[in-house]
Symmetry: C2
Subunit: 346 residues, 2 copies
């Protein structure tokens, strides 16, 4: 899933080139490329599907040249993850009704890719043999308030366990309690299932969306497909797979795992993933000198030289001739800040 606009990462992420298409970590690969890379050995390259906005087709082709055009599904508009997953599910099941499938966002990061592969293989194998929806739950290492949580029925014993409940992003005290209780995991939005399971789950829990794709099933893999999708996709309900399916499904399981995952949802979450100097400053790109500065995150284009003096707790980010300087604690307002310059809808 590579359709997000990443507005909270402005100006690094722009509507023209959102964060999944950017080398956010400064490692020489974009988040999309890193996402595909971490499935190497688990999923053949020829089985990679990308669902994205029609306007990002070029970005995907450029960054993943080995992905065939007909494996890049183009949403004419954003309808959240449920319609996105339904679209690719109806495509894959038409080609291969007994396929197993893993769904991942293209803009998350994983630090321990070896452990990720181990967990992905275990999960793919599991859903090949079980008709359960399986989601990964990140074993929390801190009372994070920026993620939703999944509560499990049982304690983790190395195998998928039953989901008791999905929890919205908690306040700090609640998050501390979740950690103490030990059977709460971060909802990472990484799903595994076989075709029969997800098709049934969509039909049972989001029949309106299933009906939309049933109605165009004959058009898939024809020259009419895009035209038809462009017409019917906007009619889909704008809803996440979590609300549409996961929270309603009786047989959903969670596999707890720990591989240094982050959704990189904000500058602050990127800040926690980067190396820090002695004063808790981090940066990506450029040549940065911090003087009397603490707890800053700086993101600059390559070749840029920067001196930052006397700043505590700021984001300094430049991209595409746009520069943002703002308090890290006010990062939730970045969309507002960017709109002061740019009147285009984000």
């Amino acid at each position: 899933m590579a359709g997000g606009v990443g507005s909270r990462f402005w100006p690094m992420s722009t509507p023209e080139c959102p964060k999944q298409f950017i080398d956010v970590l400064g490692v020489g690969k974009t988040l999309l490329q890193l996402t595909v890379d971490r499935f190497a050995g688990c999923v053949p390259q020829s089985n990679i599907w990308v669902v994205t906005s029609a306007s990002y087709f070029g970005n995907v082709k450029e960054q993943l040249p080995f992905v065939a055009d007909d494996h890049i599904l183009l949403e004419p508009c954003m309808r959240n993850t449920a319609p996105c997953i339904a679209y690719v599910t109806w495509k894959i099941r038409k080609l291969c009704p007994d396929a197993v499938m893993v769904v991942s966002a293209a803009d998350h990061i994983v630090v321990d890719t070896a452990e990720f592969k181990r967990v992905a293989k275990q999960s793919l194998d599991f859903v090949a043999h079980h008709n359960n929806i399986l989601t990964l739950g990140m074993i929390p290492n801190r009372p994070e308030t920026g993620y939703g949580y999944i509560k499990s029925v049982e304690k983790f014993d190395g195998n998928p366990i039953r989901i008791a409940e999905f929890k919205e992003k908690p306040d700090h005290d609640t998050a501390v309690k979740y950690i103490e209780e030990g059977n709460y995991y971060w909802n990472a939005g990484i799903f595994f299932w076989n075709m029969a399971t997800i098709t049934k789950a969509l039909r049972d829990n989001a029949p309106d969306i299933a009906d939309v794709f049933d109605s165009v099933n004959d058009d898939l893999f024809t020259t009419r497909e895009q035209e038809v999708i462009d017409r019917i996709y906007p009619n889909c309900r704008n809803i996440s797979i979590d609300y549409a399916v996961m929270e309603k499904a009786d047989d959903a399981l969670v596999l707890p795992a720990s591989f240094g995952w982050s959704d990189l949802g904000t500058w602050g979450s990127l800040h926690t993933q980067l190396n820090h100097d002695d004063c808790d400053n981090s940066f990506v790109g450029g040549e940065i000198r911090f003087i009397e500065s603490t707890n800053c995150i700086v993101r600059m284009p390559e070749g840029k030289s920067v001196v930052i003096q006397g700043l505590d707790g700021y984001i300094v980010a430049e991209n595409d001739n746009k520069l943002l300087i703002c308090r890290l604690e006010d990062e939730q307002r970045i969309k507002e800040f960017s709109s002061k310059l740019d009147k285009k809808p984000h």
Copy 2:
């Protein structure tokens, strides 16, 4: 005089292109061009002489294409203003021994150019008929501690008056007293004299420097000139015209004037010259949005879009792919800040 390196204005001003060659005010002309422009009607273009560093010849030719090559005097090294003025004096007096001359820095600004012209004409006329050194004294409108002061003997009556004493940059309380006493003026370093007067003043007060140029007088306006200057110029004492001549001369006069002058010595002085928004922010270049920010000065390249949130009292300046963010109150340390990136001597 266009030889300064403007290190306190980094990164707008760089050793390769110091501030006299930059459109500091964002008006479409560089400080050098504005300086020449304000003499229009007082000094024929063909009588303009520029003394600068050898490395800035190209900058001067590009910005003042009408100035002949032999009116651009190239210092092989920096020796402050006394040798600079002696050099151009010896040149002009050889061509025209009864010339009158005005000396000005190329990196100052004047807001009221009409009044400047009136004062310049009065001064040129005065030194055409009097053998005095004449310097302009800026009538102070605030107890500025960043300038030296000239104390006059008499009160100002519209004509040049005798100088009692030169005063170094004062502390705030002293500056307040100067303003109250009413016969103190900012030393703007704008001099008027005829050839006989400045030649005699240099011979009397800085005979070592006069001797250097006497020794090469025969080489001026020959093909040997630059080679000879390159050899002897480094031997000149490194001293300002103020110390070498002005403070020693008995017959120096000051003409008080008021035309919105600033030496633009620092970011702070530029900040005071620019238009401010309601929160005392100012900027040159770019498209700047201030949010919850006060008393900031921002200098950006054209075409750059910037959002600044939550900053109070900062300089944010970019030039030549270098970005500086630092406290305005720490601007005296900019040379130190820039040296963290660039090991070249400034």
